[in-house]
Symmetry: none
Subunit: 214 residues, 4 copies
DNA sequence: AATGAATGAGAATTCATTCAT
DNA sequence: TATGAATGAATTCTCATTCAT
């Protein structure tokens, strides 16, 4: 190997390692933007490559199974992020109501920033049932973890049996997701987002009581 | 026109129209079943043709724009059906609570029978925004119509201004749809459907009060 | 057969015999209009049927080979018409120049009224070489006929050998067709049609002299 | 950039671009040959792919809109070629007659080598009116350019106003095209090509005088 | 004779994926 | 690693033509 091709490789490597995560994130962004614009089934890997000005080979380097991989890996990443959330725990020291409101607010913001992903995810699970299973397992793990931590810290939570608490969390998570997705991606339920968030807090409170008495 | 040519025409019409509608209904059924099984973006017009044992040309005869047309025409048909519902009005003479419960029960059954359609509809609107607009307009028309009729018959409804009543109906319809769809097609919220329906009745009651006081 | 179905058949027959040529002419008109609008290769028999509000079966009744038949039969009809033209002979008694000018004027008007047909004809011969051969034979027959008649009547023509006269006529016919078609269907050669016709008269005169001296 | 990476880039560029252009030219050749043989409307992208032993995807990589794109891009290429012709200018220093004869000879040879293209072009503009407009604009640009250059060099041309000269050139171009196309692709006007070319020179001379006196 | 539903071959086009460079 | 040309199966859609009514 001549000195000059060596130099080229070093250049490339440096560039790569610096940019790897950047590229992956760009692919995520462009893919989910296109899904939001054109729908999942009209968004192809080639379109993503063109829009990202990457070669199609690069997409398949990071996501060997194409579209489904993009959704799945973003899903896995987001699961990890949710498991790592220390902020939720900190909040729980305070008022339980405040905890709930913060949780709802965060969830809403998260949906808002990930509209394309949510649409893609709901499309992808239609033909990839293992994704749905992984999602269910992930949800369970996250809220089991959360329930255990909260029961140790907060009195309001410790009076509820762990099983019940997990059930309530998962129920709430699903309920809130269903309503927020409908509001953001199908038809607005309220004319402002603030009104929706306020409503969600109320309905969450109502539902918790409902579930605990059943 | 003599009696005999009249008879001939009736025969012809009946036969053709019966077969035609039969065929269209078969296409609907097979298409939405396939969507339920494989997802919208993995259901092709060819799959439908093969499964229905029609030629592909027949599909395109009835649905010139393919998949999107299947969804759109089923959507239009279902809108018409909803506008024609006299049973809802009859119910409204009775107890308002009973009316609401019946409405929820019907809506749930409808979702259950149309899982494939609901998935397809939500996929199709991603790339056909006019479908979403038509949906919104249709919903508005249906509930304006219903609100006007109910206010004339039932005291509970007549005390609420028409505008408000329409708003409440549309809100409830969206809320219930969001939750039922999530339960049926994504993740169950309750282990039995009956529990969901009971919960929906409660949350609907809560939400109505909430909206009327806002 | 009952009296009544007999009656139906009689009705139909009457209707048919009255309308047969009408229908054929309608098909011609609509077909060539569509060719003019969309081009030959984007004009299908089904489109013609829809536009004509006939059933597709009717088209195939009169034109069993579809598109190509429509062009060919219209071609045959126009050949017959050209062979029947007594007016040309009458003209030839008069001034030879006037004869030529009339011929050119008629040819131009004919092109103007048959733009769609000319486009279709030129497309059809691409894939149906027998049509081109038929066209050549027809042209030859027509101008042989004309030459013979003219040589008997008009002194200007009788001094030219028959063979040469036929050759000149066919040459002129092709030359004028080429120029008129280009002017009408591709790019105008002059800003008004009158200027073109005047030019054609001049160039025809020039060309006749050119040919007779070669 | 070091000398060695420069070399690599040159290699890559050359190789890719050489193959690419080769492929495109092969597609042109095969497509127009097929058009000549079977007609435009019976030549499909699949036929081209089979005949060229490329995959259909390759055709669409270079010509995303299929047939129409093949015609349009060849048209654009030929327009560029015509704008670049320095040889015409050189000729104009000499005798004007000689210039004209050379122009006619070149035009004829060009037609002879591009029979398939000419047929395809005339078919394509039927359903793509923008192609015709582009053609008109291109023609105008080419002859405006040529007129300006010639008027600066040659006395015969400089006495004619620019506008008039452009008009004459465009007229001649259309006239010659009409006649040559008819002779080559429909019906021969003369039994040898040489006779046609001689005739064209004469008729061009006649027409120029005719136009300049109008 | 007239209809138009039905057919299915085939044309147009897209797309996930591979692989040589 | 990165590229992007190439592939060809799959999808969408059209059309000439047939045939039962």
């Amino acid at each position: 190997m001549s000195h000059c091709s060596f130099y080229i490789i070093m250049m490339t490597r440096k560039k790569f390692s610096r940019n790897k995560q950047k590229k992956i994130n760009q692919i995520y962004k462009i893919f989910f933007d296109l899904v939001l614009k054109n729908g999942y089934h009209k968004t192809s890997t080639n379109h993503v490559a063109n829009a990202a000005k990457f070669s199609i080979g690069t997409i398949y380097k990071y996501f060997p199974k194409g579209k489904e991989d993009i959704v799945r890996k973003y899903f896995e990443k987001s699961m990890e992020t949710m498991l790592d959330r220390e902020d939720l725990i900190e909040l729980s020291n305070k008022n339980t109501i405040e905890f709930l409101n913060n949780f709802i607010f965060d969830l809403f913001k998260n949906h808002e920033e990930n509209k394309g992903y949510n649409i893609a995810f709901r499309s992808a699970i239609q033909s990839d049932k293992t994704l749905l299973e992984a999602h269910k397992k992930g949800i369970f793990k996250i809220f089991k973890d959360l329930a255990q931590k909260l029961r140790m810290i907060n009195k309001d939570f410790s009076v509820i049996p762990e099983e019940k608490l997990i059930e309530v969390f998962i129920f709430l998570f699903n309920l809130l997701n269903a309503i927020i997705f409908h509001h953001l991606s199908l038809m607005k339920l309220f004319d402002t987002d603030d009104k929706l968030i306020k409503y969600l807090s109320n309905i969450a409170g109502f539902s918790i009581k409902y579930l605990l008495n059943t």
